[in-house]
């Protein structure tokens, strides 16, 4: 079987010379400078760097929430940006092709676990009953029994599992995660990484994870370092970093 980074695998995320700046003249800030990145199906890629280096901007650009200033981008094989966004229904693209996992789970506080997941599917057009059934199945898949619990009643680890279930509910080919293990202890952080790896392999999804958490660096197929809006280095981690 070929490795996740094998060129034979489908590229899900392709970025070339992507730049993004905010402001003009003296107030201009270059958040991304000539970023080139490819993440393939089944690959779990880590993205690290100091605060303000452009990691979240890069996630926003790939998530079509922020429009780049220049460059070229293709998502799931479809050209999306070439000096301008090429399609108008970016919302639909986000809903069906991209799954998001946030640092603080960002579950809707007024929906219970099942409803949080079902809502994403209903927004994509699935019927109410079918969405609820699939949401329950996903929770069972993640060993979650508290199907009717509200986010405030869930531990950090459980809430993050619900958030991951929501992210993959519409079977997206691209999963973007913004520091998904930040609020979790080491054991739960490894649990989240297990889930992301499983999803990447089983759903042929490209997973891009922004993280500062060194304890999970060894879990990535590739680890990309950013600095001042540029991709500075890329490595294939092999061993766990010893705990400090």
């Amino acid at each position: 079987m070929d490795s996740p980074a094998s060129p034979d695998r489908l590229p899900r995320v392709e970025l070339a010379a992507i730049s993004k700046h905010f402001g003009q003249g003296d107030t201009r800030v270059d958040a991304l400078v000539d970023v080139a990145l490819t993440v393939r199906a089944g690959e779990v890629v880590g993205l690290r760097g100091p605060s303000g280096c452009g990691k979240s901007t890069l996630l926003n650009v790939i998530g079509c929430v922020t429009e780049p200033s220049s460059g070229w981008m293709r998502l799931d094989g479809e050209p999306v940006y070439d000096g301008r966004f090429l399609r108008r229904d970016l919302r639909r693209l986000r809903l069906t092709r991209i799954g998001f996992i946030f640092q603080t789970h960002n579950l809707l506080p007024f929906l219970n676990a099942t409803e949080n997941i079902a809502a994403a599917m209903e927004l994509a057009g699935m019927g109410h009953a079918e969405a609820r059934e699939r949401a329950r199945a996903l929770l069972a898949y993640f060993d979650m029994r508290q199907m009717r619990a509200y986010p405030s009643e869930l531990s950090g680890g459980m809430a993050q599992r619900v958030a991951i279930a929501r992210a993959i509910a519409n079977e997206p080919h691209i999963i973007l995660a913004d520091e998904p293990t930040a609020p979790l202890d080491s054991a739960h952080a490894q649990g989240v990484m297990n889930l992301l790896e499983r999803i990447a392999r089983e759903q042929e999804a490209a997973v891009l994870v922004v993280t500062h958490d060194e304890s999970i660096f060894h879990r990535f197929d590739r680890l990309i370092s950013m600095h001042d809006g540029r991709i500075e280095a890329e490595e294939v981690p092999t061993h766990p970093v010893p705990a400090a």
Partner: protein
């Protein structure tokens, strides 16, 4: 999935308390409309109950309710003999302040001739006047009971309550009462003995006690009201006003100010409600900004978010309306004046609430639309 409903379900207590507050405010608006309708009904109830086709009054007045009208008592005999007139009755109106037991009682007193138009209709207790003097029929809202005596006039003559009516008050809300015309005239013009002696000593003429305020006319079935009225108006000291015109005087002149006052008050209340509903919706939306950013980030269309805010605003307004209505229905009996809730007014208030809620959600919707989905992400 209805997100607005889910949000309400999750925050039941907050929603219930907010709705209760809005409901009380809307209840006051409903009460205002009810008080106006009640005043209108009260004002029209007396002339309608008297069931006259024509009111003969002093010319160039809007009497006898809108302004004083004084005509000679023999007018009734003149009118009765006219072609087309089936019956005529002389009446007087005055407000009296009395004491029943130790309780102050204010009455709008009508003097009428027994057996002629002008008497009370539909007694709920007792019987009509049977004696020429010292009997009185009162509305039950006065608190008087059959058999009780009420001292009236400068000599504090005891009037025995012989009958009761229900729901008969004047435009000012004072309970109606009926005595014989003779008693009413005596009450209107009698003065205390000392004053009478002084008047005689000064050589002044005492005002005649035979004047009346109006003559109520019932026409024969085939008589034309306009023709009879024109005939009566040939006497220069008389004017004949059709029943509908008398009702118009009441609504246009007597309770017009009350209508304007209540209208102004309702306008202020609606404006206050609009500000409060707007603030509540805006605050509820601001509390959900992160959720809204998340919804946008994962791909929810704006219409889902707008629907959530607008539906919540409408839920607040409509629940508040239901609570306000229930509240007023419950307590309206305790109001000193009639509160009459009309479906037409409720529809208007409901429409106003819907408009206020829709307008009130504009600020919240604007804030939600402006939320950048990127705000769902933390860090840099």
């Amino acid at each position: 999935m209805n997100l607005a409903l889910r949000d309400v379900r999750r925050n039941k207590l907050r929603f219930a308390l907010t709705t209760l507050g809005i409901g009380m405010l809307i209840g006051v608006v409903i009460a205002m409309a009810g008080i106006y309708e009640g005043a209108l009904t009260d004002a029209l109830r007396l002339p309608r109950a008297l069931d006259a086709d024509l009111w003969v009054v002093q010319p160039r007045t809007f009497g006898p309710f809108a302004e004083p009208s004084r005509i000679p008592r023999d007018t009734r005999e003149l009118i009765r003999r006219m072609p087309g007139v089936a019956a005529a009755g002389a009446v007087t109106f005055q407000t009296v302040q009395a004491t029943a037991g130790r309780r102050p009682v204010r009455l709008f007193l009508e003097g009428y001739e027994i057996g002629r138009p002008g008497g009370p209709a539909n007694l709920i207790a007792g019987h009509g006047l049977t004696e020429s003097h010292y009997q009185i029929i009162a509305d039950a809202s006065s608190g008087l009971k059959v058999g009780e005596t009420v001292p009236l006039g400068p000599y504090r003559d005891p009037f025995e309550v012989v009958g009761l009516t229900h729901g008969m008050v004047n435009s000012g809300g004072d309970p109606m009462a009926w005595v014989t015309l003779l008693d009413a005239q005596a009450l209107q013009f009698a003065v205390p003995p000392a004053l009478e002696r002084r008047e005689q000593a000064s050589g002044r003429n005492r005002p005649t006690t035979t004047d009346i305020n109006a003559v109520l006319v019932r026409l024969s079935p085939r008589a034309a009201p306009a023709a009879v009225a024109a005939n009566i108006a040939r006497w220069k000291h008389l004017a004949a006003v059709p029943e509908v015109e008398e009702e118009r005087y009441l609504t246009a002149f007597v309770i017009q100010k009350m209508q304007a006052q209540l209208g102004m008050f309702m306008g202020i209340l609606v404006a206050v409600s609009a500000v409060i509903i707007t603030l509540i919706i805006y605050t509820l939306t601001m509390d959900k900004l992160r959720s809204i950013a998340t919804l946008k980030f994962i791909g929810a269309p704006d219409r889902v978010i707008v629907a959530m805010i607008v539906q919540q605003a409408l839920a607040l307004g409509l629940s508040g309306f239901a609570i306000g209505l229930a509240l007023i229905e419950k307590v309206k009996g305790g109001f000193p004046r009639r509160v009459q809730i009309e479906p037409r007014d409720l529809l208007v208030i409901l429409a106003m609430i819907v408009v206020v809620c829709l307008a009130g959600s504009v600020l919240g919707v604007r804030a939600a639309i402006k939320v950048n989905p990127a705000e769902a992400l933390a860090g840099g």
